[in-house]
Symmetry: C2
Subunit: 247 residues, 2 copies
């Protein structure tokens, strides 16, 4: 299953503006303005002027919040997004309500205290973002993330992503039963996405930050249904290709 572009010209538009360049433009914008994110529960708030607003939207970070302010726009970043901008890209500083700038370690500890599965989810999120995939929450489809080849305005999300970890706990508990796997695959098929499973494997014994990030490896696996009638013979293969989108 390839990318499903939204309308004519979208593919060319995406090719003309690679996501890697948009991310660089975001860097220049955020670092110049010395933008600071504000921790607030399970999200990080960011005040942006209209230029930053535009570039945050293009790079697909955060969610614009509805406020009464007209000149300034507030963005709500998920914890993975905020930590990625702050730690992996170094574009952003994050402060608490007393305006103290948080160190990477402090942030990591805070985020792990908010979401038990933060370490695995962050590894999965940053793994895809570093390859210039646009990664957004997947709860609508009952998965951890969805991944887009470019901006969601140009293309439908291609992968439904589940992050599984060998560690005991919440992540790693999905897809253990056939019925769960069937359910997930049937849903992915229905919304024309491929199920991408990211297996997070810890290589070393280091559990502290940042060692735990360096010592882990991610194995990617896509899962799809095997259709016997599609794999029999060359001829029947060709004949059946037209029906592929109906299955």
């Amino acid at each position: 299953m390839g990318p499903r572009w939204k309308g004519k010209g979208s593919k060319a538009k995406a090719a003309a503006e690679p996501m890697s360049e948009i991310i660089l433009a975001l860097q220049s914008s955020l670092t110049t303005s010395k933008c600071k994110g504000l921790i607030s529960g399970c999200s990080v708030l960011l005040e942006a002027d209209s230029e930053q607003s535009t570039i945050l939207n293009r790079a697909c970070f955060g969610r614009a919040m509805v406020t009464s302010q007209k000149e300034k726009q507030w963005y709500e970043l998920g914890l993975e997004e905020a930590f990625y901008l702050c730690y992996s890209l170094k574009y952003l500083e994050i402060v608490d309500h007393d305006s103290n700038v948080k160190s990477d370690v402090e942030l990591w500890d805070y985020m792990c205290s908010q979401i038990e599965t933060f370490p695995e989810f962050y590894k999965g999120y940053s793994h895809l973002r570093m390859k210039n995939w646009v990664v957004r929450p997947g709860s609508q489809y009952g998965v951890d993330f969805v991944a887009y080849r470019h901006h969601p305005a140009l293309v439908h999300s291609e992968y439904a992503v589940l992050v599984l970890s060998e560690k005991k706990g919440n992540s790693g508990q999905r897809l253990k039963l056939w019925s769960d796997l069937h359910c997930t695959l049937r849903l992915c098929g229905g919304v024309a996405k491929t199920l991408l499973v990211l297996h997070v494997q810890d290589q070393g014994s280091e559990t502290g930050f940042p060692g735990c990030l360096k010592n882990s490896e991610i194995k990617e696996q896509t899962i799809s249904r095997w259709l016997p009638e599609k794999t029999r013979e060359q001829n029947s293969n060709l004949k059946n290709q037209g029906e592929a989108s109906n299955t």
Copy 2:
């Protein structure tokens, strides 16, 4: 979400021939002919003449198998179906490959040895069948069963059924994570079914057959998404009703 009848006249046709009467006709047909089911791995095979074939189809038991025989038709019954016909309805005797008629206890033990979750699944299956729902395998949708108000030729299945048990083991492991619940609900919404969860609760300490069947209770629960915009005010409720089928 009400029943979705297939075409005009289906509803009237179903009303004219209640499933309870079809089941009675099946009884008369199977008991008169002294039909015997043959155990074969995870299914029970049934040889039927054309009259029995018709009534098995109407009552929606088993799956017709493709064979080279023209006058006789073989049916493959799932273990729950076979045990229901044999034990709950007393319409059928089941034999092994040496033509020995199996007692209820022998059958129960055999079926439990084939499928670990047979006790819970049977309780769920028989619970719905006794209320004259047509119950079929749900693996296509990643659930345990689907339930139809009448014959699948007349109506779409209304419920996607998961059987959850308090016992440790496979059943009871679904819907423990939010992502799994979201996935299941999204899929159910997409195929216009309501998620019906049957919680099998054992009341007594008896684990042997048939005590375990009598001492258990089933709590039914339907789960659906809560849409804030649909529950605000009378007016907006009415306004939104037309959109309900799109959500």
